[in-house]
Assembly symmetry: D2
Homo-oligomer: 216 residues x 4
C-alpha cells in the first residue's frame, strides 16, 4: 500500500498547541483513498525541522509528503503553490534562532512549485463545503523553509517521479482565536476533514491533468 507522510509542527509564538500537529496526529494510521497515513511532528526550528523531515522520508519512503502548518490570521485552508529559497524570521524559532535574508539551501534554485495537485485539492475542498484557496506565499518562516527543504530533497534525490510534495496552511483553532481578537478560526473537525479530502483529491482524474502541466 502507498504511504503518505503528513507532518505537523510543535507549538510556537506562545501558543499552547499547534493545530497542524493536532490535526495530523489524528489521521495517523488511517487509510484514505489507497494511502496509509503516517503522521510526524516537526520541531518549529529552521534547521531541525528539515532534518527530521528528511529522515522520515528516507525511513518511510512515502509516495506523497504534505507538510501542514498554522497560518494564524488566515480564514481558509490555503494550499501553498510555491516554496522560496529564503529565510527571513521576524521572531526566533523554538531554538532561539532568527536568521534574516539567508537561503534555505545555499545552492538551491530560487523556488520550487508544489507537486501535489493544488487546484484539484482546492476544488474538492470547496465542493465538500470547506473554505479553501490556493496561496502563492508560504511566508519566510519555518513553514516555507520546511516546504522548500522538502521539495529540494525530492529533487536532490531525483525522486520527483516517485514522491509528490506540498504544503497546506490551516487557520487558528477557535480556542486560539479566542485570545486573538478579530482573527478567524476553523474547528479541528473541519481541518481534519479538509486533510482527508486533500488526500482523496491526489489521484483523481482532474489531478492527473494538473500534474501533467508544464510547471517544474
Amino acid at each position: 500500500m502507498k504511504r503518505i507522510l503528513l507532518t505537523g509542527f510543535e507549538p510556537f509564538m506562545k501558543e499552547a498547541i499547534n493545530p497542524s500537529w493536532e490535526a495530523v496526529r489524528r489521521l495517523d494510521g488511517e487509510r484514505i483513498a489507497g494511502y496509509e497515513v503516517s503522521a510526524c511532528e516537526l520541531p518549529t526550528v529552521f534547521k531541525r525541522a528539515q532534518q527530521v523531515l528528511i529522515e522520515q522520508i528516507k525511513k518511510l519512503r512515502p509516495s506523497v509528503v504534505i507538510c501542514v502548518g498554522q497560518a494564524g490570521g488566515r480564514a481558509e485552508i490555503t494550499v501553498e503553490r510555491v516554496a522560496i529559497n529564503l529565510i527571513d524570521a521576524r521572531i526566533p524559532d523554538n531554538d532561539g534562532e532568527a536568521p534574516v535574508d539567508v537561503p534555505v539551501a545555499d545552492e538551491g534554485p530560487a523556488a520550487y512549485f508544489a507537486s501535489i495537485p493544488v487546484k484539484t485539492i482546492q476544488h474538492q475542498l470547496k465542493q465538500a463545503g470547506i473554505p479553501c484557496q490556493v496561496s502563492y506565499t508560504a511566508g519566510t518562516y519555518v513553514c516555507n523553509s520546511t516546504f522548500y527543504a522538502l521539495m529540494h530533497a525530492i529533487y536532490s534525490m531525483q525522486a520527483q517521479d516517485e514522491i509528490r510534495g506540498g504544503f497546506i496552511h490551516i487557520p487558528f483553532l477557535p480556542e486560539q482565536a479566542a485570545h486573538h481578537p478579530g482573527k478567524p478560526s476553523m474547528s479541528l473537525e473541519v481541518v481534519i476533514e479538509a486533510l482527508r479530502k486533500a488526500i482523496e483529491a491526489l489521484d483523481t482524474e482532474a489531478s492527473a491533468g494538473e500534474s501533467a502541466g508544464t510547471l517544474h
Copy 2:
C-alpha cells in the same frame, strides 16, 4: 421553569441556509442553566419579523429573548450592545422591500441598549475557547430592526424588569464561506456551544453586577 426564546432567521441573499436558524432550532426544548429553550424562526422581512417575534413573546412569556442572526464576514461571535431606530436596506428583504432611512418605530427613541449581560457573555465564551466580541453596530438591515423592535416592545409593555432582550450575530458556516472567498466561518457545533454558554452567563454573579449598571 423560566423560559428563554431564541430566534433565528430564514436564509436570505441567495444563501441556501441561515446558520442562525440552524443553530437555534437544535436548542429547541433543551434546558440550560434553569431555562427551557423555545426556538422560533423569523422571516427575513422588516415588517413580518417583528410581528412574529412579538406574537411569540406574548404567547410564551419568556424571561429572556435572544435573537440570533448571520453576520457574513465577521470572524467571531458578536454580542450586540446597541439597537438603533433606523432601517437602511442595501438589498431587498425576502418580501422585496428595501426601505432607506426610515425609523423602525415612528415614535421610538434613537436607540436601546441590550439588557442581557453582554460583557459577561463575551467573557464566558472566551473562557470556553470561543472567539467572541461585543459589537456596537448590528447594521441597518433586518437584524438591527428586529433587535430594535424587540427592545421597543419590551419597553412599550413596561416589561423591562421581567424580560431581558439581546441580539447575537454569528459568522458564516464553513459551507457558506466556501463560496465567499476570503471570508471567515465558524462550525455549527461551535455556534451551538456559544449559545449554550451565553445562556449560562445570564444569571452568573458577574452578570448581576453588569445589569445593575446605569445604562438604560
Copy 3:
C-alpha cells in the same frame, strides 16, 4: 455670516500628531459655501473635551458643529451617524482616565443621530473622488463621547433647529501608517479637501430632503 465650528483632537496613543487637528486647523478662518470656519483643538480627555467644546459653542454660536477624529485602521473618511450614551475605554485618555461601561450623560437617552446630512456628504465626497462611507459606530472612546456630548448639548439647549451637529472620522496620515504595518492611510490634502466638500454639502438641495427626514 454663518459660522461652522470644526474641532480636532490632541494626539493620543503615543502618536506624535493627530490628523484631525492637523486638518482642521488649516481650515481656520476659511470661508466655505457661506460658512466662516472656526477651528478648535479639543483635549483627548473624556471630561475636558466636552467642556471645551460646549464653551466654544456658547462663545461662537455656530450654525453647524462638526467634530473630527482619528480612526486609525479605517481606510476611508467615515461620517458617523449615531452617538451612543456609553463610555468604554480600553486605553486611558490623556488625563489617565479609562472609565468602563458608564454613560456619557447620566440622564441622557441611549443615542442621538447626527443632524448633519450624512448621506449627502458621503455622496458629495465620492463624487469628488474621495473614499467615504457612512458609519454606524463611532466606538466607545473619546470620539463617541464628544459626539454624544455635542448632540446632548444641542438638545439640552433646545437648539436643534439652530445648530446641526455631526462627527467625521479620518484615517491615519501616511507618516503615521508607516509605523503601523498593514494599516491604510490618507494624505492631509485629501482630508482637508474632504472637509471642504462636507461643508459644501450641508445646504445642497439633496441635504434638505435628508434633514427633513423622520429620524430624531
Copy 4:
C-alpha cells in the same frame, strides 16, 4: 549618466486610469540620485507587456529597471521580492487573453528574486513617512508575468551584473477607491515621492550590503 527605466501599466478591469503609469510618467526625464529616469507605458497584456519592456531595455540600456503596477486593495507601497514562472489569470488581459496555469517562460526557472535592494527601499520609505512593506507574492497576473519576464531577460542576456531589476506595487488612488467601498488608497503625490525615495535607496551603503547577499 546612468539610466533607470520605470514602467507603468495601462488601465485594466474597467478602471479609467492606472496609477502606476500616472506616477511613472511624471518622473520621466527627472534626474534622481545620479540616475536619469525614462518612463514607459506597458500594455496590460501578458504577451505584449514583456515584448515592449524588452525592446525598451535593449534600446535604453538602463542600469536599473523597476516595473510599477497597481495592487488594488493593498494599503501600502509593496516592494516585490519574488517573481514566479506562472500565469493564472482570473480575468482577461486587455487583449482578452486569460491563460491558466501556464509558465511565463517555458524553460525558465520556477522563480527569480528581485535584484534591487528591497529591504533598503522599504526602510528608506518608512523613514520618509511612507507606508511600505516587502511583499513575497506579486500575484499571477500581468504584474508578476512582466516582473518574471524582466528578470528572465536580464539573466538570459547574462546582464545580471549590469542591470538590476525589480517590481513595486502601489495602492489605488483615492479617486479609484471612492468606487471600491472599504478599499485603501494612496495619493499620487505620495506614490511619486515613494518612487523617488526608492531610487535614492538604490546605491546607499545599506543597499550594498543587501545586494552582496547570497540570494540568486
